[in-house]
Subunit: 335 residues, 2 copies
């Protein structure tokens, strides 16, 4: 039987993630036991959180040295030893960075029948639902309010800002570099985008958010969160989605002004992860699919071919080279 | 006519507050204009926030050099040039650190008829309502949950912990020094109290909160907030009431772990000030008065005689020398 190509975390990174921290190897094809499914990975999601998983336990256990690198995937059932699944079924699974995985059927979720399949990783996947729930269910946004979004060109931020515009907010992004910022405004339709690499972020927030910031959707933490805290309006809300500025060897420090500004301005900071809102996923999927279908949401995907390119893809994502949702195509679409 | 003794902020402190930053002077008796009241200060509240007001605008404008020091008071109407008030009426007012003040009637609030009058500054005043709303309306607390309270011997903390016990929570305080901690347990009825000056706070939280912390009521910020963040349970709530560790020349830095821990644990941090809950004050006053009357709340007051002792009183409060609600008696009870 064929081998199973896997990528391991060879060594836990101490500073910046490098390709040498990974190792590609051939392993025997996994054999599903009773109640399990043999899955073939089609599309592998790449997320900044993958880097955080290497540092220690988060909302899931840490990736240990020698483990197949963890990752969410859209996978096809190749062989089923569980009653509810048949070969050819599509599922969401924590398959990891490998061609094949044998997982308990209870640990996977059935994927809806939707083409292109890439949408199941982007707008209808974790990225889209994170944007949807994090903006609409965590912080809320009202027409006429000002929404600030960091990592605005990224998988989640690009959707958060567009959903904010759909809801009638003024939307200002933060991204790295003038070209990316121009693209955020021209292609995604944000009202403005601040280049954190080239501009004084505090001054630029003041300029582009003349009525202050009502909601800040935070993907990055660090200096941008600090600048946002000072720009928040009283009773402002901050959706804490991620802290990518600190994942890849960045300093583990918080912004100045916590908790003084939280008290004075009566801010609400709220962390979330997408699975907390599973009971609202059906509504999210319906809205997101409708908005993508009629063009109100521009869905931006950044698909890299080949499992062997996953390390390079994640390293580049952490450096901010992607626009929209980065994923790895591990196998062609079935059927 | 008699003079009006006042205490000014002579110089804005750069580091620790000292008596030399204040100046006592005699001013002419103020004369109320149309729509104003001439008020005599009876009891002057002393609050850690007074120190924060000296540094810059907060939820109110800053105290400027040369200003009469700002402060909340229970005052008696001496002369009324407004329709709804008569001499002898008791009011809550931002009278400041002086014997007499002339204020717009619209800027004061009528005080309920309640003896002892000191309760109107402690359990039925800003301290009591801050504890009530901050615990019950901001973070909520359920029977069986674990509540951690910093500045546990202070005006607000002493009440927060007792209200937590009333609601069936396990309540652990944090205070300075073994004697104060013993008093918090023995007199206020907390389940445990951690001495932040003598104990490893993280280890002590782990010991006394074996099921983690569900709600942290934060009066101090800084290192205790940091330790609390690491001890919070998933979906934990933090009521951000104050940051006294940073007010008196402390470093303006936030705890390590923000916002990473907020995301991972899906925490909600929420700042508040008591006036945000004015529409719930009647219920708060009714509950607090009932609990104090039947002894379920131990009301601890620390009354210092004489306006001239206000600077010393505030400096001592910032150093943590008070137990319960510190106030200055400026004039005897009327009637």
């Amino acid at each position: 039987m064929a081998d199973n190509t896997q990528i391991l975390l060879r060594e836990r990174p101490k500073g910046k993630l490098e390709e040498s921290h990974f190792e590609l190897r051939q392993a025997p094809m996994p054999v599903p036991s009773d109640g399990q499914l043999l899955l073939r990975t089609i599309l592998l999601s790449q997320d900044a959180a993958n880097r955080a998983w290497m540092q220690g336990a988060t909302y899931k256990s840490a990736v240990e040295e020698g483990d197949v690198m963890h990752g969410y995937a859209l996978s096809e059932v190749v062989e089923s030893r569980a009653p509810d699944y048949s070969p050819g079924d599509l599922v969401f699974a924590e398959s990891g960075w490998q061609e094949y995985a044998a997982l308990d059927a209870r640990a996977v979720g059935r994927a809806p029948d939707h083409r292109p399949l890439t949408h199941l990783i982007s707008v209808l996947g974790v990225a889209g639902k994170t944007a949807y729930h994090g903006l609409l269910d965590v912080s809320g946004i009202e027409a006429g309010e000002t929404l600030l979004v960091s990592a605005a060109a990224g998988s989640v931020g690009s959707l958060v800002g567009q959903i904010g515009k759909l809801k009638g907010a003024r939307v200002v992004g933060v991204a790295g570099g003038p070209e990316k910022c121009g693209w955020v405004v021209d292609t995604l339709g944000f009202d403005a985008c601040i280049d954190y690499k080239g501009e004084d972020v505090s001054a630029a927030i003041a300029e582009h958010c003349p009525r202050g910031v009502d909601v800040y959707f935070d993907n990055v933490g660090g200096a941008v969160l600090q600048a946002a805290l000072f720009a928040m309006n009283d009773h402002g809300r901050i959706s804490c989605c991620g802290a990518v500025s600190m994942y890849d060897g960045g300093p583990l420090t918080g912004p100045v002004g916590v908790p003084g500004l939280i008290v004075i301005k009566r801010l609400r900071l709220e962390g979330f992860i997408v699975s907390d809102f599973a009971d609202r996923d059906a509504e999210a999927e319906r809205d997101l699919a409708a908005w993508a279908a009629d063009g109100r949401l521009v869905v931006v995907e950044d698909v890299i071919e080949g499992l062997e390119n996953a390390p390079r893809g994640l390293i580049g994502l952490l450096a901010g080279e992607n626009r929209g949702k980065r994923m790895i195509r591990v196998a062609p679409d079935p059927r």
